[in-house]
Each structure stands twice: as C-alpha cells, then as structure tokens.
C-alpha cells in the first residue's frame, strides 16, 4: 500500500495503523471543529452573534432537539433508527397541553403520564424490532403514522394550551443568567455520555451495534441492550416534547414533525454512523448545535426564506464530507 509518510487522506482501508488512528480522531473532533468554524464565521458576519443573550437564546431553542437527538444516537448506535420521535414529540405536547388543564397540581401527574406513554412506545418498538426482528425504519414509521393519527383523533386538530406559567418557567426562568432548561439538558446529556463511555451498559450498547454476533457469542445480552436503547429513545423524545411544550406554550399536532429528520441529521453530522457501533452522544450535541447556530445566523443576517434551505443543504452535505468517510465493513 501507500508509504507511511503519505498523509491519511490517501491511505486505503488496509494501510498501516497510524493513519487510521488519525482518521478516527478526525471523525471524533470533526463536528466540534466544524461548530467552531461556524461560530467564528458567525462572529465575523454579525456582531450580534457572540453576545450572552444570543448564545443563551441558541441554547434554549436547541434544548428540545438536544434531548431528542441524544435518544436517537442510542438507537443508531445499536444499528437501528427511530423515525417516530417527531410524532412522539407532537403527541407529548398535545397530551401535556390538555391534561395539565391550567392547574399546577397536575404538572407532576402529567409528566408521569407522558413519560409512561414514552416507555410504552419504546417497549412496543423493542418488542417488534428486537424480539421479532422487524426492520426498525419501517416499524417506527408505522408507529409514527399511528401516533400522528391518534394525535389528530384526540385533539381534533386544534391546539391545546392548558400549560401553566410555572411549567413554562422551565424555559423562561433563569438561574445565574442561564435558563433552567439548559441545566436540565446538560445534566441529562452528561449522564448519558458517562453511562455510554463508562458503564457496562454503555459497552454493551457499543458491542451490540458494532458486531451483534460477536457480542452475543461473548455472552452479552444483545437483545436487552438494544431494547433499552429503544425505550430510552422514546422516553427522551417525550422529555424533548415536554421542553418544547414549555417553550412554545401550546400543544399542537404538527409541532414535532421536523424533529425526526433534524435529529437523524444531527446524529449523523455528529459522527455517529448508520449501522451502529461507532459514535456517541457528544458528537450529536455538536451536530445539534451546528444546526442551531446555522439557523441563528440565518435569523441574525436576515437570510431570505428561500435561500435558507439551500444553504442548510449545502452546509450539511459539505460539512459532513469534510470529516466523514462512509465506512464499508
């Protein structure tokens, strides 16, 4: 193969160990490098970008997607995908917005109810995908349709706004100048990162996605690890839905739709690969923030509605191309 002095870009899959480690490192740092580059460009383009208020705003707006994408990461890590998260987010806002019924005493029961609903959806996914072996994409597509339909049947298509101001405080009140929700999201994602990298469960998840057959032969309960990720993903989508409900104040049927594609895009931008085994929640956080900064810059610069999707598409494709290489194994 190529000589050892050649930089890693030209190194083939069978090249020596050194270059491959470099590429691996690049894939891990890539999302953060891209995020930094975007922030520098944003600072140069607009003086309003690097202000405490604006950064707080970006964090507050991206908090639901951060949680949803963290859950999506887990599922993609074990070689699956969950396209129902958007429907779960919408469903959560509608149920939450009507069950809470403008009463503070009902906040906790409401939260418990929707979390239970998340567990239920996750268990259905786990049963079908892990136990019966159905395709994760289509199975979650099916639940997505079911949930979207039930959502419409339940609400009749009209928005629900029984959210109390105290519940909305989650996103509107700040401690030390930072919205409460940012702390919540930070703790949640930190816990997930620690669990994924440091615990037995995390190693099992990585092993189940990397090579399920080998993992099974080495005594790992692959099915259990996979099932846990589907349940966690739905529960985290519910949490994302609750945060979104607190932010916008009304539950509506379509509000979560964009979360499906955005969460998958963020996870892939963050360096987690389809097919599983490689990546992590840390990268997905960068992926979400890349999207959030991009939208923020669009707003600050007053980019036209027509140009936004075009720029988004170009940045997403070229940004990922800078550091990802599709791995064939």
């Amino acid at each position: 193969m190529s000589s050892m002095t050649t930089p890693e870009v030209s190194a083939g899959p069978t090249s020596a160990r050194g270059p491959r480690v470099n590429r691996e490192h690049l894939a891990q740092a890539g999302p953060y490098l891209l995020l930094m580059a975007l922030c520098i460009i944003a600072t140069l383009l607009s003086s309003a970008f690097l202000t405490g208020e604006n950064i707080t705003n970006v964090l507050r707006q991206s908090s639901p997607l951060l949680v949803v994408a963290a859950g999506q990461t887990l599922v993609i890590l074990v070689g699956g995908i969950d396209v129902s998260v958007g429907a779960v987010v919408s469903f959560t806002t509608v149920i939450g917005g009507s069950v809470m019924a403008s009463s503070n005493t009902k906040i906790l029961p409401t939260v418990a109810l929707v979390l239970g609903f998340g567990v239920l959806v996750g268990l259905v996914h786990a049963l079908l995908i892990v136990k019966l072996g159905t395709d994760p994409f289509v199975t979650t597509l099916g639940t997505m349709l079911c949930l979207n339909g039930l959502d419409l049947v339940y609400s009749g298509g009209s928005p629900r706004s029984g959210v109390t101001p105290e519940f909305r405080g989650l996103t509107q009140n700040s401690v030390l100048g930072i919205p409460i929700v940012v702390y919540v999201v930070a703790v949640l994602t930190a816990l997930l990162i620690v669990a994924l990298t440091g615990s037995t469960w995390g190693r099992r998840v990585h092993a189940a996605g990397g090579n399920a057959a080998a993992a099974r032969l080495s005594g790992i309960r692959v099915e259990r690890a996979q099932a846990s990720t589907y349940v966690l993903c739905s529960v985290l989508a519910v949490v994302g839905g609750l945060i979104l409900l607190a932010r916008i104040g009304t539950g509506d049927t379509g509000v979560g739709d964009a979360y499906t594609l955005n969460s998958i895009a963020a996870v892939l931008i963050g360096g987690t690969v389809f097919g599983g085994g490689r990546g992590g929640v840390g990268g997905s956080i960068a992926g979400v923030l890349i999207l959030a900064v991009l939208f923020n810059v669009f707003n600050l610069l007053g980019v036209s509605n027509y140009a936004r999707p075009v720029v988004l598409g170009v940045v997403v494709i070229l940004g990922i191309a800078l550091y990802t290489r599709r791995r064939t194994s």
């Binding site: 079908l128 395709d135 289509v138 931008i269 997403v316 990922i320």
Partner: protein
C-alpha cells in the same frame, strides 16, 4: 443471511417479476374486505379511480426501490416531485405547444438532481440519508425561489384531458404506470445493470473486487429514482389545476413505506420493484376503502400505520421462515452427500 443468498432456489424466480405471494394474498384479502364493507368498492368506476390515484406512487416506488437495492435511500423524491409539477405548470402555463418543452425541462432537472445525489454519495462518501436530506432541502429552496411559495401556472387543456381519459375501465394513467413498472422490472431482471445493483447493495467490496463499476451503478440508480419522481410529478400535473410548491410532500415517507412493505430491505441487495408496487397498491386501496366507509381522515392515518407495522411483521416472519427452510435444505443436501461419500468409502 448469507445462506439465503447462496441457496439455489429456482422457485423464487417468478416473484422477481410478480412480487411475493403473501403480498398478493394480503391485497386479495383487502379487496374482499372492501367488497364486504362497501357496495361501491367493487365497481368499475371506483376501481378505475383507485388506479388513477395510485399511478404517481406506483411510478415513484419503482425508482425508490432501486435506491434501496443499492443499499441507499432517497428522501429527496418529495422535493423533486414538487419541482416537477411546478416546473411543468410554469413552462406550459396553458399553452399546449409548450408541453414538449415542459417535459424536457422536468426530465432534465430530475436527471440533474439524480446526478447530484449520486455524485455526492459516491464522491464525497457521505451517507445517502444525509445527502438526499441535504439535496431535498436545496431543491425545495430552489422551488420556493422560483414559485415565490405560491401555486403557479396552469395545465394545457390536453393535459387534463389525458389525465382523466379512460379506455373502457382502463385509465390512461394506469397504462403509463404499468409501462413504467414493466420498464423498471426489465432493467432490474434482464439487464447487466440490474444484476450489478443487487451486487453493489449486497456487498460493495465484493462487487468492486468482481470488477463492477460500483460508483457508476450507484449514480445510475439515483438518476433512475429521480427520473421516476419526475414521471410521477408529470402524472400528478395531469390531474391538478396548478403547480403546488409543496405538492410532493408526504411522498418521501409513503414511497419508502411501500417499498419496505414490499420486501426490499433497507440494508440493500434484496427485494424488488414488484413487491414495492404491491405495497403501494395496498396502501392506496386501503385508503380508498376507508374513504368509502366514511372513516375519518384522522383514523385513516392510524390504520395506515397499523398496516405498515403488520406488513413488516408478516414479511419478517416470512423471510425468516424462508431462510430457515433454505438452511435446512442445505443441511439435508449436505447430509445426503456425506451419506453417499460414506457408502463409496465402504
């Protein structure tokens, strides 16, 4: 997995053209349910209507199948359909002499989208999901740009006439869809490119080592997918009054659902166009029956989701059984051979 590919099963041949038997059974059951549920279902008028409504999705799933066979996916088809209808309506704008120009513009634009998808996937080595997500975003933005986010243009009278024309019970659009599906089936089953697609989707490295131009096969699959979206958009524009800049939305999920219900795996290398067409017909027929019975649009979505889950479960169980059967067949053959060898030893 590997066994099912290696096992020589001549009985499977015909379903490459006609689709899996269990899907036909499901379709028949659906038709029987429709017959029982509503007296209006099994009438020439209604069935001819169903075929007309099904045409765009049927055409589209043929292309989406190719994207899935090469282990990819194309979520930009919805944006491509929006582009196709708006472009056609804007170019024609009521003037029949500009129809050929409109056709050429739509097909060329679609080929460009397909090449963009294929080139970005193969040259930049970015996952197909991300590329087609990005391209969908770009195309939709361009459509917003030239339509100003409002409905544009109008069809020539001839277009509408063809869109609603029927020969007896057979609608013109159904004939177009059938012709397109046959074209896709021939490409899939009777050409070198078709075999290459399965090879590339089944295992890229092996395909490359076998001398297959993997990248070109990939690009061609995405170009065919985009062209099928363009043809679907033309079918839509024959039956609508103006070009809707969001007219294609929903076709991305619907087409993927139909393809996978039809037995094509997202992991690539398996399945085929025929199953996808049956999947599409199943979804459309169910929608029609529910409309006739007066099920609300909201509940229709729920039922559609339930059927998707049911179909994928049945298809999984079926495939597993087939694989087990193939495995036992191999085992039996091996046993026989071993027995024979032992006898010869004696």
């Amino acid at each position: 997995m590997a066994e099912s590919g290696a096992a020589p099963r001549p009985a499977v041949r015909w379903d490459r053209w006609l689709g899996p038997l269990w899907l036909w059974s499901l379709l028949v059951v659906t038709v029987i349910i429709g017959f029982i549920a509503s007296p209006h279902f099994l009438t020439t008028l209604n069935l001819s209507n169903v075929l007309q409504q099904a045409a765009p999705l049927v055409i589209l799933v043929a292309g989406q199948t190719f994207a899935l066979i090469v282990a990819g996916i194309d979520i930009s088809v919805a944006a491509t359909i929006s582009m196709g209808t708006t472009l056609m309506m804007m170019v024609v704008n009521g003037d029949p002499s500009r129809i050929p120009l409109g056709l050429a513009a739509v097909l060329l634009a679609a080929v460009a989208v397909g090449v963009l998808n294929g080139a970005a996937i193969t040259l930049l080595e970015v996952p197909a999901f991300i590329v087609t997500f990005g391209v969908a975003s770009i195309v939709q933005g361009v459509v917003f740009l030239y339509t100003d986010q409002v409905n544009v243009g109008s069809p020539a009278p001839q277009m509408t006439e063809w869109g609603y024309r029927t020969w007896g019970p057979v609608p013109f659009l159904a004939v177009v869809a059938l012709a397109f599906v046959i074209l896709a089936l021939v490409i899939q089953n009777r050409t070198r490119f078709g075999r290459w697609m399965y090879a590339v989707g089944g295992g890229e490295e092996v395909a490359r080592l076998a001398g297959i131009p993997v990248k070109r096969v990939r690009v061609a699959a995405y170009v065919f997918c985009a062209v099928s979206a363009a043809v679907a958009s033309l079918a839509i524009s024959l039956r609508t009054g103006s070009g809707d800049p969001l007219g294609g939305s929903g076709f991305d999920w619907d087409s993927i659902a139909a393809v996978v219900i039809g037995g094509t795996a997202l992991s690539g290398g398996r399945g085929g166009v025929a199953g996808s067409v049956l999947g599409a017909l199943l979804l459309i027929t169910m929608g029609n029956i529910m409309n006739l019975v007066g099920v609300s649009g909201f509940w229709q979505i729920v039922v559609q989701g339930a059927v998707v889950i049911l179909a994928v479960t049945v298809s999984t169980v079926q495939t597993r059984r087939a694989q087990r059967l193939a495995r036992t067949n191999i085992a039996v053959q091996k046993d026989k051979r071993r027995l024979k060898l032992r006898r010869q030893d004696r």
